[in-house]
Amino acid sequence: MRKTLAVVGIVTVAAAAAFVVGGRDVATAQGGGTVEVEVKYNGAPVVEKLKVNKDTQKCGTEAVIEKVVVGGNKGLAHAVASVPAAKGGKAVKGVLDQKGCKFVPHVVVMSPGELEIKNSDDILHNIHTYSTANAAINKAQPKFKKTMTEKFEKPEVIKVTCDVHSWMLGWIAVTPGPAAVTDANGVAKITDVPAGKQKVEVWHETLGKQEKDVDVKAGQTTKVTFEMKGK
């Protein structure tokens, strides 16, 4: 009897939660704005190179490990700009490819849910994730397994490596709110951000995290600039 009551209780709470989330969804879609985030970095790029001793047909003879990529106008690439508190919004499905013995894109942004993982290389890779909130996985993806799907339900930035090719490094940013990754010039456009005061967060794999308050206006683009500091 007690069990039945508990089940009923859980169902009720879940239904209520779904209603609230659903309601917010509608609000976001109606009054969203865009935040254009520019991330700058005054330091030098950090690049490591490694001689490749296998699979050179697919991987090339030299692996380039780009830890800090600085583009035109001191823009920092591969930084994740997000509005973590703005839940709901459009769900973004993540797609991560392994191509040329690299993770493409280097940083994939996704909503909590499924990630499609492709292997375009025709050689063995293994998806080895380092996570705490989500279950860490280490799954082989041989050449004949062109695609597989994994679930990442909890917000977290997850490191991904391949043990077969130790230089391969990628990141999966699971974000509940709208998010984008900076391009080669250090610019990321976050769309569908609910209007009003929002906290924008920028994360970079080696340079850390920063936060800023931004006043988002519906139907308009608000610009904000971040300056990352070397560690």
């Binding site: 293994n126 082989a140 041989p142 043990d163």
Partner: protein
Amino acid sequence: MPLGSSRAVFAQAGDAGAGKAVYERKCALCHGEKGDGKGPATELLVPRPRDFTSGLYKIRSTLNKTPTDQDIFNVVTNGMPGTSMPDWKVLPERDRWNLVAYIKAFAGDKLKDAPKKVDLPKEVASSAESLKRGKEMFEAIECNKCHGNEGRADGPSRPELKDEWGQPVAPANLAKRWTFRGGKDRKEIATRLAVGVLGTPMPAFLEAVEKPEDIWHVTNYVISLGEEPKFATLVTVTATKDAIPDDPAAEFWSKVPPSYLPLMGQVIIDPRNFNPSIDLVTVRGAWNEREIVFQLTWDDPTESKPDAAKKIFADAIALQFPPKITPGPERPYFLMGDDSDAVYLLRWEQGKGVMEATANGPAKIKAIAGGEVNGKIVYKDGRYRLVMRRALAATGDDRPTFQPGVFTPVAFQAWDGGEGETGVRMSLTSWYYLHLEEPQSNRRFVVPPVVALLTLAAMVLVVRAANRRR
């Protein structure tokens, strides 16, 4: 969860409080009082003892991170071959279950998810067909990337492999399944392949084979890569009338019965070698009226390119004999002799080739001028094969003469330079005996028939004599 199964789990669940006392007596020295893998002995151990607070268990039969209680119980009970973790069968079963409960508690809520036990596909027995498919799949899923073409842990990714804590970690030598951390049985091997080895680069292959049953085909193939050796107590050298080939890969050697000898790390003199790389050498010997020839086979994951700056040294191996073979139990000190009694070595070293040497201890090796040994070495797929030949008879005080029918002391030393082994950092055996088999002469075809004929003749004579007397 059905009530029945939850009761079964409860029946096995140990008492963490009782486990604490056992833990502190038996486990804390390596795993640390707090279970963080930082006991007083930790620094000496490779691989490092498990940090139970991380909640990360290498050997598990589950799809998620949480091992079953049985998984932990099995490791406590059976130990982990190839590591410092011994088996704890000496402890009463109750104590081991109590330990499981206590150990799990160190991880706090990191093990809060219930274990999701893997459902292995239906078992497929080994057969020629299964082995064929297993090899095909072994190649398709590229086990060789880490484990090497023949599974001898010599794959191209080997030098890059790191564990969860950033420590270098070696792939398993699949041709030596008796050294597998999680056990050598079929089901254990299939389980490791299916769910991977957590905290290491070994990924899960359950969904990464073409058909579910391929897990079993690959398992069968892995088992076929190496037979568990029966260690020798006596090294027999086969007698032959034929010429003995130089080529270590010659057909001849496959017909010579092997002697398998286990090697141990040298732990008497500093620097001690607690984690020797070479743990087995296979010896075949043959002799004819002129010479004695040895074929040695051993696994070494790298054909080292010596570079002192990178702590890479020359690979080497040696057979050791007393300089004079005398009857009686007197032998030089097994660890390459001492100041008063030298030993004689037949030695191969990378870059130097084969040589005869005398030693008065590991630091005092001297090549014998005008040595007459020669040989040939082949390295392929993580394995050395070496042939060394020498005349049976020898001149000089420091070189033994080999004689059939005499028990000759012999010992072995090996160095894996790629793993930093050089000087006294070696693996070795104590003294064994070498026995040159007596040649099988043609007399066995002549003498018995002659005796038989003579006996018959004598009988005929006796019968005739008896008849005549009547």
